[in-house]
């Protein structure tokens, strides 16, 4: 399989990228790691006339810990996050999510920014970014702006990214003391995409009462969403098995669960509840550890 013909550009500066996007308009697509876009182009589901490759653009890659937040460049690969010693010690759930994306070769090329800009409904990062209260930084002709991850995903492969803008960075705050987070998914056996994936982050006070809960679901619907019902059911409670079980029952509420080859609406809603329970249970264990 090979895609429809296109013109290829590999600019070195963000200004050049923005200039090209301004000039080429709707006929241009931005290429990051290419592990979502190129398969779509090969199937001719996407046929951009111009491809603007970000691989040579300086300043788009790398993981920095600035005070209380990670600043991760859009072109940082899943493997770079999976293998980062700083990430593993300060926010291990990020490395955990990265390590279950696709397979090792996909993780060597696929990028955090590319995944978030593509917004595949079964991608892993969207649930993690919502649950971890990340902010997504975009740059356009008018400068930079930030979008909260739970405002980023608008629908099937649709995001808050505007025309002529590119996603340049993701900021993930470090959680407060007493916090724990976990990501659990049911992977599709061939593609490793999430049939359903749930990321949960909880903060407990010294008595073990939940003071903050952040839970998000990916895979089941057309976009990743915050599980507000689950969060509300966790806050203010001691998170013992019965409380977690009761909260997890609300995991499919607010998710536009889609039936597909992987399962019926009932089955995928059930998976939301099962994986919410597993993710919350593990997050609570880690918060106490």
């Amino acid at each position: 399989m090979y895609p429809a013909a296109f013109d290829y550009y590999a600019p070195k500066h963000i200004k050049e990228v923005l200039g090209l996007l301004g000039k080429l308009k709707d006929d241009a697509k931005v290429l990051a790691g290419g592990h979502s876009l190129i398969p779509m182009m090969k199937l001719r589901l996407a046929q951009p006339k111009h491809l603007v490759d970000l691989r040579k653009v300086s300043g788009l890659s790398g993981i920095k810990l600035n005070g209380k937040a990670f600043a991760i460049g859009a072109m940082t690969t899943h493997w770079e996050i999976e293998s980062s010693a700083t990430v593993k010690s300060k926010l291990p759930v990020l490395a955990e999510v990265a390590s279950v994306i696709g397979d090792p070769a996909v993780r060597n090329k696929g990028t955090l920014g590319g995944s978030l800009a593509h917004a595949d409904p079964a991608a892993d990062w969207p649930a993690a970014m919502i649950a971890l209260d990340a902010e997504i930084v975009c740059e356009g002709p008018k400068g930079k702006r930030k979008v909260a991850a739970d405002q980023w995903f608008l629908g099937l492969m649709a995001t808050a990214l505007q025309d002529k803008e590119i996603l340049v960075q993701v900021r993930v705050p470090l959680p407060a003391a007493g916090s724990g987070a976990a990501y659990m998914k049911f992977p599709h056996p061939a593609s490793r995409f999430a049939v359903v994936g749930v990321c949960a982050a909880v903060t407990l006070d010294k008595q073990g009462t939940c003071v903050k809960a952040s839970v998000a679901v990916t895979g089941a619907g057309t976009k990743a969403v915050r599980a507000k019902g689950v969060e509300a059911a966790l806050v203010g409670k001691k998170l013992e098995a019965a409380a977690i079980e009761a909260a997890a029952q609300k995991a499919a509420e607010g998710v536009d669960v889609q039936a597909d080859l992987q399962g019926s609406v009932e089955y995928k809603a059930h998976l939301c509840r099962v994986f919410a329970k597993r993710a919350i249970t593990e997050a609570v264990k880690r918060a106490g550890a």
Partner: protein
């Protein structure tokens, strides 16, 4: 539109003009003529096309040749030295790590990176790292043994 691309593949310099839509795997197989790298599923899942680009295992069916401009590439043909099999290749021979052999080049290139990252891998690590390589003969058991054999023999050489 044709663009110039230069690479170093298995130590040999290449220089060609290609269409931007030419996939790296087709460049390697059809332009350079190295047909050891296979095209299996053509959908980024099976790993038969795995090569090393700048030291990292990548699926050559999911990259354009123009994205590899300036890169250093190793394919299955680049592993043996002076007619002597690489220990991973030898491991596949010793442990009967293949049946039809179609997935083998990708399995070996993935194993190469696996043993760089995890020189003493557990069986679980090997199986997790092979998630992106499919064998339709269901030969995983001996593939894992072959990689364990290679890990032992590569450790012995250092």
């Amino acid at each position: 539109m044709k663009l110039p691309v230069k690479m170093t593949i298995n130590g040999q310099k290449t220089s060609d003009e290609v269409e931007p839509r030419l996939l790296l795997v087709h460049y390697i197989r059809e332009v350079v003529g190295l047909t050891g790298t296979h095209v299996g599923c053509d959908t980024s899942q099976c790993g038969a096309c795995t090569i090393l680009m700048n030291g990292q295992a990548v699926k050559a069916c999911t990259m354009f040749a123009v994205q590899a401009d300036g890169a250093t590439i190793t394919t299955i043909e680049g592993l043996a030295r002076n007619g002597e099999l690489h220990p991973i290749q030898q491991g596949f021979w010793e442990k009967h790590g293949l049946q039809c052999g179609f997935c083998t080049p990708g399995m070996i290139m993935t194993a190469y990176q696996l043993l760089e990252r995890y020189p003493k891998p557990t069986e679980e690590q090997i199986r997790h790292q092979l998630e992106g390589n499919l064998c339709r003969c269901t030969g995983y058991h001996n593939i894992v043994k072959a990689i364990e054999w290679a890990a032992e023999h590569m450790a012995g050489k250092k």
